[in-house]
């Protein structure tokens, strides 16, 4: 196999732009398409398809409701008032508990509304990028205590998702959720707190091995006094160490924004973010030559993320065998993709809970390193949870999720085009096209035929037959219980 390159992919007769590639683009640059969307994208020119996803500003987004934090504000104000008036301890505690509960409910509301947004959005690449940043510039409960701060951070990611990453790094350094998650809100002169400085260098911009422990200590000094009040960034001069610092060999009276300027002068930074973007969208451990090329694009575009994305989605590497159908779906990808693919209606909180069990709890990242990629999602238990997820879609409950009232069985007949269905083989082909989007070997195909009580592709079948609905439901569950469905 030739080494994949970032050269423009030029469709040829033997390697055309087709439904398989259009499906791949919709999967990776979003959460997957329905057969109709895939057909539409396959009918466009490749750069028009990529630009439609990339230039999402020109797509009118659905008006999603804003989350209302006034109940939390009211309880907070009441608590302050009670404390100032030295109210009885018991009263104070009762209101504090109410506030905690209200805040926790808002956390759930943000999670549910984000998942609904990923399912319904007309700007799938934007939501995919918000997910990318949430997993890279990590904040979350319980270290970030305020749900509203997390909502503000998601807005920030949505606003700056594909623009200048240098501006985004500066903005996140001043973001209340981040300031509390990595404790910079208490970082002060004299005895600095290294938490933010270390992770900024190690996980957000440069990567380990490109700075010393002394650089971390000096950067921590530069970020002293960067804190927040309410929902706003505040610079506290009295807490700030305005002495001279030497950071990455440069000496001066640096503050946090100087540190970020110096970070972005380094070659390691030019390679770090493009590598992370590539690994998220294309494949892990990219060839150094690819990273080098992307770093060039990144620098020339003044740290612009959209420039990297466009190069990537139009490249030979993106449509190479190494990339196609080799990525393990994240739980979000699996769950959101399945709901989009099947058009099922289901309580978003149940979906959030399913993702939690599979190991991707939105707003509750496992640690500052964020979530794994690839095989890291898969172990014996998570795989069974992922397989069983189809019963949540089909029957409204799965082990670990549900408890409440079972929803009426979801409709499945719309997954099959009755007009094109004459044989059992036709049904299986349509299911494979919708769910797997690549050919299946004969044995596995034979297994799916068995769900329709036959060994033969040419067995006549009527999509209106008495047993057909129930057979189709079994077949959907089996398709979603296959290793092939775990990949995209």
């Amino acid at each position: 196999m030739a080494v994949p390159s970032l050269r423009r992919f030029r469709p040829t007769a033997s390697n055309p732009w087709n439904r398989v590639k259009a499906a791949h683009l919709l999967n990776r640059a979003g959460f997957g398409g329905t057969p109709e969307e895939i057909t539409r994208f396959a009918g466009m020119r490749i750069d028009a398809a990529v630009d439609e996803l990339l230039n999402f500003e020109s797509t009118q987004e659905i008006a999603f409701p804003e989350i209302d934090f006034t109940p939390v504000h009211r309880l907070f104000e009441e608590l302050v008032r009670l404390r100032q008036s030295r109210a009885e301890q018991q009263t104070v505690r009762a209101v504090a508990n109410q506030l905690n509960r209200a805040n926790r409910e808002k956390f759930q509301e943000i999670r549910a509304s984000w998942v609904s947004r990923m399912i319904q959005t007309r700007r799938p690449l934007l939501e995919k990028m918000v997910l990318f940043w949430h997993g890279l510039l990590v904040s979350g409960f319980p270290e970030t205590r305020s749900a509203e701060h997390m909502a503000i951070q998601l807005h920030l990611f949505r606003r700056m998702a594909t623009g200048s990453s240098k501006q985004l790094i500066l903005a996140i350094s001043r973001d209340p959720a981040m300031l509390s998650y990595l404790d910079n809100d208490t970082n002060r002169k004299g005895r600095p707190n290294e938490n933010y400085a270390r992770e900024l260098l190690e996980l957000f911009t440069m990567g380990i091995g490109n700075y010393t422990e002394q650089d971390i200590k000096e950067a921590a000094r530069a970020f002293t006094g960067w804190t927040f009040a309410g929902n706003e960034f505040v610079f506290r001069g009295a807490w700030h160490d305005d002495g001279v610092k030497t950071f990455l060999g440069r000496t001066g009276n640096w503050d946090g924004s100087d540190i970020i300027d110096i970070i972005f002068e380094h070659e390691a930074t030019a390679r770090f973010l493009p590598r992370r973007v590539f690994e998220f969208f294309v494949y892990q451990v990219p060839e150094e030559s690819l990273v080098e090329e992307l770093a060039g694009v990144f620098k020339r575009s003044n740290w612009n993320i959209k420039a990297i994305l466009r190069t990537m989605f139009l490249s030979e590497a993106f449509y190479s065998d190494k990339a196609m159908r080799t990525q393990v779906k994240s739980p979000v990808q699996l769950v959101v993709g399945a709901v989009r693919t099947t058009g099922t209606e289901i309580q978003p909180l149940a979906l959030v809970r399913a993702m939690d069990l599979m190991g991707q709890a939105l707003l509750y990242p496992p640690n500052v390193g964020g979530w794994p990629l690839g095989k890291g999602w898969i172990n014996t238990a998570s795989l069974m949870l992922r397989y069983n997820f189809s019963t949540l879609l089909l029957n409204g409950a799965m082990p670990g999720v549900g408890g409440g009232r079972r929803a009426a069985p979801a409709r499945v007949e719309h997954l099959i085009d009755a007009g094109k269905t004459k044989t059992a083989g036709d049904v299986v082909d349509q299911l494979v096209d919708r769910f797997v989007q690549s050919p299946l070997d004969r044995r596995r195909k034979w297994g799916l035929l068995r769900a329709f009580g036959t060994n033969r592709e040419d067995m006549p079948i009527a999509a209106t037959g008495a047993n057909f609905q129930s057979q189709l439901r079994s077949a959907v569950h089996l398709v979603m219980s296959m290793p092939e469905y775990q990949l995209t």
């Binding site: 270390r198 014996t380 238990a381």
Partner: protein, 422 residues
């Protein structure tokens, strides 16, 4: 003590295995064979004098535990000078020696210490310590501070070394959401679960019938004979089969035992209870892995750290009492570690930043309890951090050699000195 399935169970399960076995690749066939009598395999490889039914439980204290506030040098002025806000007052410390004591919330494990069932190994670390959570955790889990590229974990390499029951997926059981790198084995053995009830594939039951659906599940998931598939899909098939052959056994083991011992209502205690249930249920397992998180106390450390030590002590203590009630206490050793300790001096946030050496803890009825290693100097520091006296790999070597009867040099790459705690 016999472990594993009865003959009748094997015949029942063996048949389902054979159904897969017709087309199955070697690892599944091996699994099916091994299920016949798990300890048969053991007879071939075990070392004389080391019983095969010994179990290791690893407890990972994620985030970097503050060793100095766990095992406290309460007569050392340097400790109180470095920590004006965070130091544990002398009168609160649970005294162990004239100079060292436990955090007050470790009272329950102090009982184990007094019985000789707890060893504290002080000043554990490694050369050129990394203060990155991720790098240092990787180093501890692969036992590789030298930066060779190691794909498999130290426990995984033990599974690869033909240990007793190593042919069974349940040889390693992780209780937690993600499989630790430590258990990553070339043979792919080891299972991971959080809740036994969700650890099973559910048929859709839409008229096909459960039996037929289970058959189709195997057909759709089993690796194809003679087909060379790309790594990831092969890994998925392998994992699905490991789940398939172990989920019923795990649930049967767990459901067959109800402990009379009370456990605290924490996630860690829940994990330890589940492990105790699996041990009582005779699951063929050599290593269990449990997790605690939240030790990364950069700010407002006091309450958080107190609470975590309380959870640790409660979880370990209940587990130990449970094992005693089962009659299994002398078969099990618990090893608790963290990826690093914390800076000697507190920061301005009433917390501590990443440090280096810290104590490790070993629990078990069969061990030789006490204090091992020296408390690192609080004045002779390297970049503000403690210098380690004991290499963590010598602790691993001791456990591998003296407890599990394996060859540490083969697994760890060097012949590290053995400790006296076992």
């Amino acid at each position: 003590m016999t472990q594993g399935m009865t003959r009748r169970e094997f015949i029942k399960k063996g048949l389902t295995m054979v159904a897969v076995g017709v087309t199955a690749p070697s690892f599944i066939t091996r699994t099916a064979l091994a299920m016949n009598n798990p300890w048969d395999v053991a007879q071939v490889t075990s070392r004389p004098g080391v019983p095969d039914d010994r179990i290791l439980v690893v407890v990972q204290m994620g985030g970097g535990n503050d060793g100095l506030n766990t095992v406290i040098p309460f007569t050392n002025d340097a400790y109180y000078r470095a920590r004006p806000n965070l130091a544990i007052p002398q009168k609160e410390v649970i005294r162990v020696t004239d100079e060292l004591g436990f955090h007050p919330n470790l009272a329950q494990v102090k009982d184990l210490y007094d019985k000789g069932a707890m060893a504290v190994i002080q000043g554990v670390g490694y050369p050129n310590p990394s203060r990155s959570h991720f790098k240092s955790m990787e180093i501890w889990q692969t036992a590789d501070p030298e930066g060779r590229v190691v794909r498999y974990g130290w426990i995984g390499r033990y599974f690869d070394s033909k240990c007793p029951v190593c042919e069974q997926p349940t040889v390693g059981v992780n209780v937690g959401q993600a499989m630790p790198l430590a258990m990553n084995a070339e043979t792919g053995m080891g299972v991971s679960l959080e809740n036994p009830e969700t650890f099973q594939w559910m048929p859709a039951l839409n008229g096909l019938g459960e039996k037929e659906e289970q058959e189709l599940f195997k057909l759709l998931n089993a690796p194809a004979p003679g087909v060379d598939e790309p790594g990831t899909i092969d890994f998925l098939r392998h994992t699905a089969m490991n789940a398939h052959v172990s989920s019923e056994r795990v649930r049967a083991a767990v459901n067959g035992y109800r402990s009379g011992v009370e456990y605290a209502n924490t996630r860690f205690a829940y994990s330890m209870r589940l492990i105790a249930q699996m041990i009582a249920g005779k699951l063929p397992t050599k290593v269990y892995y449990a997790h605690m998180t939240g030790f990364d106390t950069h700010a407002n450390q006091r309450g958080t750290h107190e609470n975590l030590l309380q959870q640790l002590a409660e979880g370990v203590s209940s587990f130990y009492r449970d094992l005693e009630a089962q009659g299994n206490a002398d078969r099990v050793v618990v090893l608790a570690f963290s990826e690093f300790g914390r800076r000697v001096a507190e920061n301005g946030s009433n917390g501590t930043d990443h440090g280096t050496a810290a104590p490790m803890f070993v629990f078990g009825k069969a061990i030789k309890g006490g204090l091992y290693g020296d408390q690192p100097s609080l004045t002779d520091l390297q970049d503000g951090d403690l210098k380690h006296g004991v290499d963590f790999r010598s602790v691993y070597a001791t456990v591998l050699d003296k407890w599990l009867g394996a060859d540490p040099a083969k697994i760890l790459g060097h012949n590290f000195e053995r400790g006296a705690f076992i």
